[in-house]
Amino acid sequence: MTERSGEKSSLVRVLDREGIGRTLARMAAEILENDGDGIVLVGIHSRGVPLAQRLAEILEAVTGKKIPLGRIDISLYRDDVGPWRPAHSQPVLKRTELPFDLDELVVYLVDDVLYTGRTIRAALDALVDYGRPKAVRLAVLIDRGHRELPVAADVVGKVVRTSRQEDVQVRLLEFDGEDGVWAGTEVADGD
């Protein structure tokens, strides 16, 4: 466990680059144990998208078979968008791509952090607008607890115990220029 240098915070690193790689490899193995054939991976924007891509690469290397990849944006299905919530800037819409017929497929939703479960509820609603998958499963890199809906992951990379006040930051090369997961309390300047 190393503290991030140069930042005034008590964030603790819970996974480094190699740790993420090992965790994803184990997650891929679990996916293969659960479901051998007819699976597709669908990443939830933003960081679920590159994670789904990395899982697909591992699965393809192991099985030698092409794993279809999709991406889904849940902004239009959020439960905090609507007349009952205060004014805010709407989430920027991102591309949803599901370039396959979902029926008869086992869909693995992939996300970085499982927290309240509300994102997954929205993703499930979005998914059924595109078809009727044989099954939908959930793979997350980090499960930090504090569910507000009856949602559970089928494949979990790492369980990180947190309080609600704490923060979990998944940083990925594709977005953040580095790989790693940090958890803890970010201390504001001047505290």
Binding site: D73, A87, S89, L93, R95, A126
Partner: protein, 319 residues
């Protein structure tokens, strides 16, 4: 020149292009780009505006704009109420503001208004808490048409910056031309108006457009050509000698289109007068994007509703 999209629309209303910043236009176009996908799904509906009510207040005839708004509203799961001048109390002498007060008593979240008087949506926006969307006011503005036109052009060229767009026809009476000229110049495109002198607007300076009294020189080097309908209902009498003569000098024919850049887009906001401002061969030809404009119009109107739904109270302004 890359225009950075804004993160939020500053106003609760969309009453004209005149009040929009380039970054807000970019945000609207980017959002529409993602919403196009909804029309290609098996279930063409998302729950985003569930429980919200939209009043469509059309005080002037309209088919495609009204349908386009209705499709956009329904695809976002809003509830819609339609008032048109022929069926509402307006024909019984009720003023716009009394109508508006009565509508507000039904607590709508949006009012989409088309009105024969310039500025009616702006005045309505000041007295209601709902978000007001201008669907065309007199000869002033038609902002959603300009946005869908810009969206259509941007989808073909990737950007509007540096393009040359010809708008030809009845510019003086056209809110479409006005909104388009305002929008295109804000986004870095050059606008050329082509029309007989009697159909050119009086103050062109504000619109930053070059005026041409003949279509041919305007077309040279153009990336897109927008043909406008000759609007009989806004003219007491014809401002040109005859339809035949108008066709001879200003109709977009295959020969004239060849003067524009290769692959230049042919656009028309509809409804078209075939054989008056545009030749059928051109309207139905390879370069025509007239039906794409209709499809894109739904996505643009969805984008406006989606973005306005986020900032409906005073606290959103300036955030």
């Amino acid at each position: 020149m890359g225009i950075e999209p804004a993160t939020v629309l500053a106003s609760k209303d969309l009453v004209g292009i005149a009040g929009l910043e380039a970054g807000e236009i970019q945000l609207l176009l980017d959002t529409a780009e993602q919403l196009l996908e909804v029309a290609r799904r098996p279930i063409k509906k998302v729950p985003t505006l569930r429980g919200m009510t939209v009043v469509n207040l059309f005080m002037e005839p309209s088919t495609r704009t009204r349908f386009s708004f209705e499709v956009a509203e329904k695809r976002l799961s809003a509830d819609t109420l339609n008032f048109s001048s022929s069926t509402s109390s307006v024909t019984k002498g009720e003023t716009l503001f009394d109508t508006a007060r009565n509508l507000m008593a039904m607590a709508p979240d949006f009012i989409v208004i088309r009105h024969p008087n310039t500025g009616a949506p702006h005045r309505l926006a000041n007295v209601v808490t709902a978000s007001v969307i201008n669907a065309g006011d007199g000869s002033n503005e038609h902002p959603t048409q300009a946005l869908l036109d810009a969206f259509t052009i941007r989808r073909h060229f990737g950007s509007l910056d540096g393009l040359t767009v010809v708008i030809a026809g009845d510019i003086r009476h056209s809110r479409v031309a006005r909104s388009n000229a305002l929008l295109l110049s804000k986004m870095g495109a050059k606008v050329r108006f082509a029309a007989p002198a009697s159909l050119l607007p009086v103050q062109v300076d504000e619109l930053k457009a070059e005026s041409y009294l003949r279509l041919e020189p305007a077309l040279e080097g153009a990336d897109a050509v927008m043909m406008l309908r000759i609007q009989m209902e806004r003219q007491k009498k014809l401002n040109f000698p005859s339809m035949r003569e108008y066709y001879d000098f200003f109709a977009l024919t295959p020969e004239r289109l060849r003067l524009a850049k290769e692959g230049a887009l042919v656009m028309h906001p509809g409804p078209m007068n075939r054989g008056v401002e545009i030749d059928s061969e051109v309207a139905d030809g390879d370069q025509s994007v007239i039906l794409e404009q209709v499809t894109n119009g739904v996505a643009i109107r969805m984008a406006i509703l989606y973005l306005l739904a986020g900032g409906r109270s005073e606290s959103a302004a300036g955030s």
